[in-house]
Symmetry: C2
Subunit: 661 residues, 2 copies
Amino acid sequence: MKRSSKKKCTVLFEPSGLKIQVPVGTVLLDAAHKAGIYLSSICGGDGYCGKCKVIIDEGQFQSKPTTLLTPDEIRQNIVLACQTKVLSDMTITVPRFHTLETSQILMDTNARRFSELAGEVREGVFEFDPMVHKIFVQMSPPTVHDHTADHERLYLAIREQIDAPIMQTGFRIIQKLSSLLQSCGYKVTVTIGRRGQTTEVIEVEAGNHCKRNFAVAVDLGTTTVVAHLIDLTKATTVDTEATYNSQINFGEDYIRRIIYAEENDAFDEMQNRIVHDVNNLIVTLAARQKVDLHEITTVICAGNTAMVHFLLNLDPTRIRREPYVASAGFVPPIRAAEAGIQINKRGLLYCLPSVAAYVGSDIIAGVLTTRIFTKKGIYLFADIGTNGEVVLGNRDWLVCASSSAGPAFEGSGVKHGMRAGAGAIEKLTILDNGSINFKTIGDTHPVGICGSGLLDTLAELFMNGIIDRTGRFNPAINCGAEYLASRLGPRLAGTLKWGSRLTEGDEGLQFQLVPADNNHHEIVITQADIDNLVRSKAGVFAAIRVLMESTQTQPEDLEAIYLAGGFGNFLNVRQAVTIGMLPDVPLEKIQFVGNTSVAGAKTVLLSRKALEAAEKIAKSMTYFDLMSHPGYMDEFTRANFLPHTDLSLFPTVTQSVVRRA
Amino acid sequence: MKRSSKKKCTVLFEPSGLKIQVPVGTVLLDAAHKAGIYLSSICGGDGYCGKCKVIIDEGQFQSKPTTLLTPDEIRQNIVLACQTKVLSDMTITVPRFHTLETSQILMDTNARRFSELAGEVREGVFEFDPMVHKIFVQMSPPTVHDHTADHERLYLAIREQIDAPIMQTGFRIIQKLSSLLQSCGYKVTVTIGRRGQTTEVIEVEAGNHCKRNFAVAVDLGTTTVVAHLIDLTKATTVDTEATYNSQINFGEDYIRRIIYAEENDAFDEMQNRIVHDVNNLIVTLAARQKVDLHEITTVICAGNTAMVHFLLNLDPTRIRREPYVASAGFVPPIRAAEAGIQINKRGLLYCLPSVAAYVGSDIIAGVLTTRIFTKKGIYLFADIGTNGEVVLGNRDWLVCASSSAGPAFEGSGVKHGMRAGAGAIEKLTILDNGSINFKTIGDTHPVGICGSGLLDTLAELFMNGIIDRTGRFNPAINCGAEYLASRLGPRLAGTLKWGSRLTEGDEGLQFQLVPADNNHHEIVITQADIDNLVRSKAGVFAAIRVLMESTQTQPEDLEAIYLAGGFGNFLNVRQAVTIGMLPDVPLEKIQFVGNTSVAGAKTVLLSRKALEAAEKIAKSMTYFDLMSHPGYMDEFTRANFLPHTDLSLFPTVTQSVVRRA
């Protein structure tokens, strides 16, 4: 059969109503992306993660056979978007779990944390001295007796107000300066930016506009991009917004995206997508707060090294390949427009420095936010995202490592895993009476489980004997009570309470957390999910062990542990110890600190001393490459148990298992 | 009569053979310019200077009536190009006095001065440290045990070789750095430029190219643009080239050009022309010396404030209008490409700083070259060009002023005046026996008189009594010998020897210096010429007086006087005193220093300490605005005599007049 390749089909996506015209034969996942609709996808369109399910309401299509859909789903016209080609005009329903309101992603909590953070600057940890600020400069116009040229006149006037031994001004500004100064009687607003020790005159405008100076702080997450609109004159967070990283269609983790970009020469495309995301966030924030884009003079970004490379279109290929190095760790401030970011056309884009290919500026931001680098005792910082990065140290030394343990706690690689947004189970308890209590973000019907919920789930399954120390479902809980009592004793016989919840699903054994009802699907956790979660936590713990062993740090030496990541609002830190992700220290020593990436970016934005500190941290931190570290694989293997092979490392967990048994 | 405005005519200019197509009705001066032919023109096409004479060999034209052509010239089909419209295809002969070989403009002498100057840098007045240099950087490639990012790796390696606390690199270079380094085994040539205290990585290239690093030093004259190609690795002048400033069709002095640009919104055009001139010089030098434009990494310019404004397209309008200020005195280095100058596309353009609207960077260059700013005694520096700028001072203080006395000593406003090029009379003596000795540049038949020749002419006319102290021709020299002897005594009767040389010309009385022969026109000096020359010298001397009076400097306090300008090779400094342009000091104290503008530019090019010195000079110098100075007009009036109203100011001149009488 021969078809004209030029025939176009219109695909309508509900409930958003977004439409797109695509050629016949276009893969539905691509069509969705082009329409601006983000579908979950872990495998990057390879057809094995089964995340990109959509419902075909109308139209002709061609789908590859897959084992990832149940017969029921197939009857309901559910398809995998990445395995389906468009053959005619179509109407598609995008299930709600794909299209969570991104603006609900933990914004309230974050906003709270950021106002605290701004407090940090105000309290004098760092002097308030924003990277870009505006000053009102009034000069007396030249006369025949005062013939200083306009350019020097401006510099003299600026230096009356600020300390700026080294000043730079763009040539286009100098060219237009004289007519501008004359037009407004030599009363101008000067926008001043910092580039290292150099002070740049970013803009000169007629009149006084000092009260309107905004910036955007961005956390460039592999999964989620978060932006905060900051009023630089007041050091306050005006508004926040988040979106999914639209590179996600090319792979859920950044290694896969680098491979995709390399194989398809798609580095420009990768940059375009992340820049597009950042621009969308900026435009949304600006429109909502009635801020003109011109009034946004700064964008500051923190993120993993690969994401910063994508944003700036730096070569990221050796991040994934020996010798695992970045193109640039310290990127000097550039004009935001040079990267395609649409703010004030001469506004600056700062990226926080990174330490290594696998320890990015988000981690520097974390160290900055938690102030480990100022402290005397030994502190541990762990940021659990797509990777798990760990920092150990104090004001005298800092070591760090990154475990590529996968994004299980971000909800990826977990059947009903999801990001921390509305409808996500963020808290879960399995009660002795067999029932399960949970709380969702936004208190809506549950649609999935986010990081903190997954931590609870894993810990609760283990503490209740539903899974054993290897993470395997206890087969006994499905057998007769009599048999169980005889074989397992009274403790394990108790698992009977949950016997009916353990079923054989499409992916093997699965445990039902929430039953289906008329309008909602059931929520389960599968054996594969548990394996992924255990591997993730094992990676983090093994990294912590390597750093502690290398520095001869004992758990009792730790003054505190800071846990960062997009887990959810109510992370139960005890559970992080229960599953063996964090060392067994007194719980009051563990503090959940949330998204420290954007918090650190904001600190730098508000104080140039903080950027100096960040650069010092990045330079002084020692990076341990775990892949080439002789002890890491052993530690990882030993940590692949709940809580660990060596129970003596987790005395309080052992004690509490014994108590419950 | 109605003509289609679209009809085009071809105008052929001989002897160059250059052709141009122009619409019917085009003014011939404009056609010549478009064809790349520069015709002398003082009035900017207003039809009153009579300089733009050409011969029409063939074709129809329409000329406005003029009194500036003799009946003989009209018979020879000579027209004023600015008053003539093209009506058909035409063939034009451009007389030789327009088309002097510009490359002959004093190049030998200048080249000598510049090699001395390079010596100055080598001798340690300024440390040799060029504004832009290349270093060969070899790095060990990253390994899993040495994971420093490429950008930081490069910085570390650069800092092993040079002191560069503050470094900047263009974003495009950072973006391509990784693949470049990998392609060449981490062995690169880094081109390093200085922007104030900041070190800029201008370029990174694979392999070692350190031996090829060139720069061009430019003197942006109102009349002539001079360029020197410098080998930065050896601090030597490789070649020199000069051209006429092609803005000249818009007026011979820059005030007229500013007016033209303002009235015709032609600032872009003004920039295009001067940039075009500079580019032409660069291309010519590069082609001749087999230098790739890419290997030219720096252009450095000195010139009057207006010319620098035109080059950079800065607003020059208030240079000519109250309060007489520049847009910028200190222009930071910019990328040459930003101004349209075609060298290495990331190469830098430096402009030396200026003091005021009428004291430009050429004067700073002069102070730098003469080292006045390092000296203990009091020194005087006078640069005679289109304007006459004067600097007085030493290492403790510097004062300066500019007299807009007109470009008479550059040959403008003088009937047979010309620039110092082949065929120019550069030396002239009137002998007691009535004959006149002269020497021309290139020892060819004389076609005109350049600055040094005009100085000689004026002094000789005066010393021989042909003109009196007011500059008027002595009417007696045309009368009978008897009458003269009875009326004037033996001294003035001597003027009889030259009686036949004084005739009534088109412009009044004129004195014949060289008679016509079959192939050459006569060369005369007119009463108007003399008036112009006297006004010029009076302006310079009045400026000197104002500065000396203001600082209570007596002539005997002067350690030396440096006279700069494009006079000619053999300037007789005694004559500058004779006519009363310079104070009457012992002749050994007066030194002719030539084109100090390009010399100073070159000094800065070869040593960044020299730029710091130039900036310090520009900042510390006190500018006297003569127009608003209460004493200036008086001084000017008093100086409008030969040598001066007050003969006591010129004791040696008075003595020698008395001796001859």
